[in-house]
């Protein structure tokens, strides 16, 4: 074999290795989903969805968990959405190139890299102890809001950046003020992108267990919360709890709850991807 033959062979080999690597992750994912579905789908029925937790695996349900997850989803949206979008608008539309704004940007990038469990410690001290909210839904939602704030800010900025300068010029030239321009032109034009970012951030929040465990969300809550100040559990914590038990039946429960959690996560991501594609199709500047 000549040198160039060997090179070509190596090239071919790497090509195959590339395909292998690309698919190994996907294959593992497929095996995993298959395994979960096989183990858990038989357990999902009306009783499972509408029963309170129980010490007996066969009687335990996820009512409090999914209701808690829903509460957290809504409260987190209410807190993080206005805050994150406002901050994104400020940084993209108002902030001038100054040292303090430069610092703001670095700081946000840093926050995005702080482990979620650290946010849990922050929430524990500030919301649970200092503000005396206890292990309540509100404390959990506030903690998760801080966690996803950097994501929302970054995606809001991206979406706003995509609105062309000419739209702003057109608005200013008609005598519109800065805020009128932002409110009437920039935000509507970037809304699809902002929404996509928020939904992706929420799908992250829905799957979080660690920070909520740290602030004291409990695995066993024998009632569904009726106000933001009630104690709560969420699906990931319920799954964690069941996974850590030795009995096989609880693992089945965990698998069933995972199916529900994955449905919620994939649905949120699906909506986000759909919105992004629609946005890209709709507006060609």
């Amino acid at each position: 074999m000549t040198n160039s033959d060997i090179n070509r062979l190596k090239d071919k080999a790497f090509h195959i290795f590339g395909i292998f690597c690309t698919f190994i992750g996907l294959v593992v994912l497929a095996i995993f989903l298959f395994d979960i579905v096989v183990e858990g789908v038989g357990r999902i029925n009306w009783d499972f969805l509408t029963s309170l937790p129980s010490r007996r695996a066969s009687r335990a349900g996820i009512l409090t968990a999914w209701v808690g997850t829903l509460w957290i989803l809504v409260l987190t949206t209410l807190i993080a959405f206005p805050l994150g979008v406002s901050a994104g608008v400020y940084l993209e539309e108002y902030a001038k190139k100054s040292r303090i704004n430069n610092f703001l940007e670095i700081n946000i990038a840093n926050l995005a890299g702080v482990p979620s469990i650290i946010y849990g410690l922050l929430g524990l001290e500030i919301f649970v102890r200092q503000m005396r909210l206890g292990g309540s839904l509100l404390a959990g939602a506030l903690t998760l809001s801080l966690l996803i704030l950097p994501i929302i800010i970054v995606t809001t900025r991206e979406a706003i950046k995509a609105v062309p300068r000419s739209i702003r010029d057109g608005s200013y030239a008609l005598g519109a003020s800065k805020w009128q321009t932002v409110w009437n032109q920039v935000l509507p034009a970037s809304f699809g992108g902002i929404l996509t970012g928020i939904i992706l951030a929420l799908s992250r929040a829905v799957g979080e267990a660690a920070p909520l465990i740290v602030i004291g969300a409990l695995a066993y809550v024998p009632f569904t919360p009726s106000s933001p100040l009630d104690e709560f559990t969420v699906l990931p914590i319920q799954i964690f709890n069941w996974t850590s038990r030795p009995q096989e039946e609880f693992l089945t429960n965990a698998a069933a709850a995972i199916i529900i959690l994955l449905i919620i996560t994939f649905m949120l991501n699906g909506i986000a991807v759909y919105l992004r594609n629609r946005q890209q199709k709709k507006i060609k500047w």
Partner: protein, 253 residues
């Protein structure tokens, strides 16, 4: 000239940071006439145009010295409100920039942000402006369709209608036909000719023929200086400055 002066610059200098973009410009432009600004890219003509509605205010590091007068009032005084100024000085941009909204919403945007809410007033203004911009017949049946669906030429006339809707007395046009095909360009030029009966128009253009066709006066800019300003006919037939002559005969640009 005899006619009233509408727009005026007195010893105007402008800077982008350290860059000296406009160098002591003095000019007086007549009311209800079309003045064309010509000159090679980067000569400052667009920058100068944008000082008349202070569109440069948002650019970091931009500052001016000297005076810009509209109806004998210095618009860079502290007490001048930029939003009021821009209601009086409409602007049309190089590339058509309709808002991603309906045709109707585009035209009435300026009035709406002024707080006009009455539907009858808005609708009437929309129709009047679209008629003035010679677009009404083409769009009257699809006022509530997206403006982005219009052709480039239609979009640019929509932008003109949008500017007219707030009843300005001055129209600034920054190469309004440079992104359009010849037929659309002809329509826009025709429109400019119509509009000068009621508006003072300043148009920046790269296109020498266009300047010749639509303008009464022409100003030639070069490297931030106003080299020559005269009646268009005079300028094109007997330019005084050598640089003007080189430019209009196409030796650089």
């Amino acid at each position: 000239m005899g006619k009233k002066t509408k727009l005026e610059a007195i010893d105007l200098d402008a800077y982008y940071g350290d860059f000296h973009a406009l160098k002591s410009i003095n000019i007086a432009m007549e009311e209800k006439a079309v003045t064309a600004f010509i000159g090679p890219s980067g000569c400052g003509k667009s920058t100068f145009l944008r000082t008349f509605n202070r569109m440069n205010d948002y650019i970091e590091g931009f500052r001016t010295e000297g005076q810009i007068l509209i109806d004998n009032k210095d618009i860079y005084q502290k007490d001048v409100r930029v939003d009021e100024l821009r209601k009086n000085v409409g602007m049309v941009f190089q590339k058509p920039n309709p808002f991603p909204k309906s045709i109707y919403e585009n035209v009435v945007y300026g009035l709406k942000i002024q707080g006009v809410k009455k539907k009858s007033v808005l609708e009437e203004a929309a129709e009047t402006s679209l008629r003035r911009a010679a677009l009404w017949d083409e769009v009257k049946d699809k006022l509530h369709k997206s403006a982005l669906a219009l052709s480039g030429g239609q979009q640019q006339r929509l932008c003109i209608a949008r500017a007219l809707a707030i009843s300005p007395s001055v129209l600034l046009m920054d190469e309004p036909a440079s992104a359009l095909d010849p037929i659309s360009t002809a329509k826009v030029e025709e429109l400019i000719y119509e509009l000068k009966n009621d508006y003072t128009i300043v148009i920046v253009t790269h296109n020498m023929q266009q300047a010749g066709r639509v303008s009464d006066y022409t100003a030639f800019f070069y490297m931030g200086e106003l080299v020559e300003f005269n009646k268009t006919k005079t300028m094109f037939t007997s330019p005084k400055d050598e640089r003007t002559q080189n430019y209009i005969t196409g030796r650089f640009g």
